[in-house]
């Protein structure tokens, strides 16, 4: 059976088949940071706590990666197997805007302000046969059902 593994430790956890982003909150000014870090660039305070970030938000801006990135570092398919993907920032209300891949790469289906939610996005299969995944944002199904 294929095991699903995150592209790196400490970035997100996989829970019930969905990613949960691991962030930091400044205990002095409430500034949220991602990925986790020590030190707050907003208030310069140095006491933070680990938090899990919101899993839904709205699309703040986006583009489409239409050509294959250099590999390495890119782990996804390149050359003739390359598949264009969206990239965007999603605003997690009251927290921050997180950059991530988008499951949609058709400009006609992407609108600034549309509701988005976190999903897992397969990148590659590693030498042990594990499915390596990263996180991505998908349009949120308004009925609440995962599409």
């Amino acid at each position: 059976m294929t095991t699903t593994v995150a592209v790196a430790d400490g970035i997100f956890e996989i829970r019930d088949g969905k990613p949960v982003l691991l962030g930091t909150r400044c205990t002095n000014c409430d500034n949220h940071m991602y990925p986790r870090q020590t030190g707050c660039p907003r208030c310069l305070f140095n006491e933070q706590e680990d938090v899990e970030l919101a899993t839904e938000g709205t699309l703040w801006t986006w583009t489409v990666q239409a050509f294959p990135p250099k590999s390495p570092p890119y782990l996804g398919p390149v050359g003739d197997d390359f598949v264009p993907y969206g990239v965007g920032y999603v605003e997690l209300p009251g927290q921050l805007r997180v950059e991530g891949r988008l499951t949609i790469s058709d400009p006609d289906q992407l609108q600034i302000g549309m509701p988005m939610e976190l999903v897992l996005d397969p990148l590659t299969v590693d030498e042990d046969g594990n499915q390596v995944v990263t996180y991505a944002f998908a349009p949120k199904n308004e009925n609440g059902d995962p599409s």
């Binding site: 703040w60 583009t63 239409a66 990135p69 782990l75 996804g76 993907y85 921050l96």
Partner: protein
């Protein structure tokens, strides 16, 4: 700040030069800058130089002269050239030297710049997020949405760059392209197409600077540095290669560097006769017009439609073809802009000379991870 003058300028052609190292191009630029003001290397009291991929600038002394001068290497991303210039100015103003040279050169591999992930294991690059082109697409896409800039205006910027580049014998891309050709080229990072992006390139620029009161000893046409300011990002600014950004908004390092430079020079944007603005891609030129104070956000649509930033317009922008036509050798790019402004202020810009008898000229560079450099020159 009016006590530093540029008396000599030199450039190695921008473009692709097989068999010529980045350092070679820096050395050529130095020799041309010295010749421009009739000086020998031995007269230089100090040097400041930088390159990202071309090697340590100070090693060039083994070829141009082991005179023992203090030579400072600077590496500051896309602001490397601007920082070299600012350091040269500081050196002269501090009294540590009266006559010196600022140098920038580079030679990059083909294709997009290779970027390492922010930290830890490279999940960022691995996930396909470590591309500067994505940031540029996302920043202008948001900006167009907010301020009503349209895609044809992006194409106008591209076509203007190649039109101006065609008039510049030192430019890399010298073939004019129509707005349609720019708009219909390969879509790389929506909404930006291939000809809306600059490419990593090669080139070198050097300039000889001195105390203003001694300038006439070296040239009868000195150009004075009224301001040189470098700023980095503040909390809340939207920058390249950021896995996250704050919801809080800061206008960014360009606005800060611009404000500082105008204060230093004691003038305002309305006094500027010609401007070279960082155009890593067509959208950047549009956004930087407003961030540098030359218009309100959104006014660019009409300004471009009116041709106001053309060579014969009200505020000519990127008269040498900018990064789009010259490519971007990181270490040399900021000094290229200053070189162009010196030519324009001297009236030596040939076919691309702006016709408004320019007296004040402005340069602006921007780059990762959120740094901006501005200079203001005057006759």
């Amino acid at each position: 700040m009016s006590d530093v003058a540029i008396v000599g300028i030199g450039m190695h052609e921008f473009g692709r030069h097989d068999g010529i190292s980045g350092m070679d191009q820096g050395v050529t630029a130095v020799r041309r800058a010295l010749a421009d003001c009739g000086q020998q290397w031995s007269a230089m009291e100090f040097a400041v130089g930088g390159s990202m991929d071309g090697g340590a600038a100070d090693t060039m002394v083994s070829r141009i002269g082991l005179t023992g001068l203090p030579f400072t290497n600077v590496v500051n991303g896309c602001a490397t050239g601007g920082t070299a210039l600012a350091q040269a100015v500081n050196t002269i103003q501090s009294g540590a030297g009266d006559l010196g040279i600022a140098i920038g050169f580079d030679k990059h591999e083909k294709g997009a710049f290779r970027i390492r992930g922010p930290r830890g294991k490279d999940w960022y690059g691995g996930s396909g997020l470590a591309l500067t082109t994505q940031f540029f697409g996302m920043k202008i896409n948001r900006y167009m949405h907010q301020y009503g800039i349209t895609q044809p205006t992006l194409a106008k910027v591209g076509a203007k760059a190649f039109r101006n580049g065609a008039l510049n014998p030192m430019a890399w891309r010298r073939k004019p392209l129509s707005e349609q050709e720019v708009a219909e080229s390969l879509m790389l990072s929506y909404p930006l197409t291939q000809y809306m992006f600059c490419s990593p390139g090669e080139g070198g620029v050097a300039m000889v600077l001195c105390r203003a009161d001694k300038a006439k000893e070296y040239t009868d046409r000195p150009i004075y540095l009224k301001a040189a300011a470098v700023r980095t990002r503040k909390f809340g600014s939207f920058e390249v290669l950021a896995p996250s950004i704050a919801i809080e908004h800061d206008p960014g390092p360009t606005a800060a560097a611009s404000k500082a430079a105008f204060e230093m020079a004691g003038i305002g944007p309305e006094d500027v006769d010609v401007a070279q603005l960082q155009d890593t891609e067509a959208g950047a030129e549009i956004m930087h017009m407003a961030e540098n104070g030359f218009c309100e956000h959104g006014e660019q649509e009409q300004m471009l439609a009116n041709g106001e930033t053309e060579i014969n317009g009200r505020l000519p922008v990127n008269t040498d073809g900018g990064c789009l036509a010259n490519g971007e050798p990181i270490g040399a790019s900021g000094l290229r802009q200053v070189y162009e402004n010196v030519l324009q202020l001297r009236g030596d810009a040939g076919e691309r000379q702006v016709p408004n008898d320019p007296k004040v000229a402005y340069t602006h560079v921007y780059g990762a991870p959120g740094i901006s450099g501005v200079t203001i020159l005057s006759r």
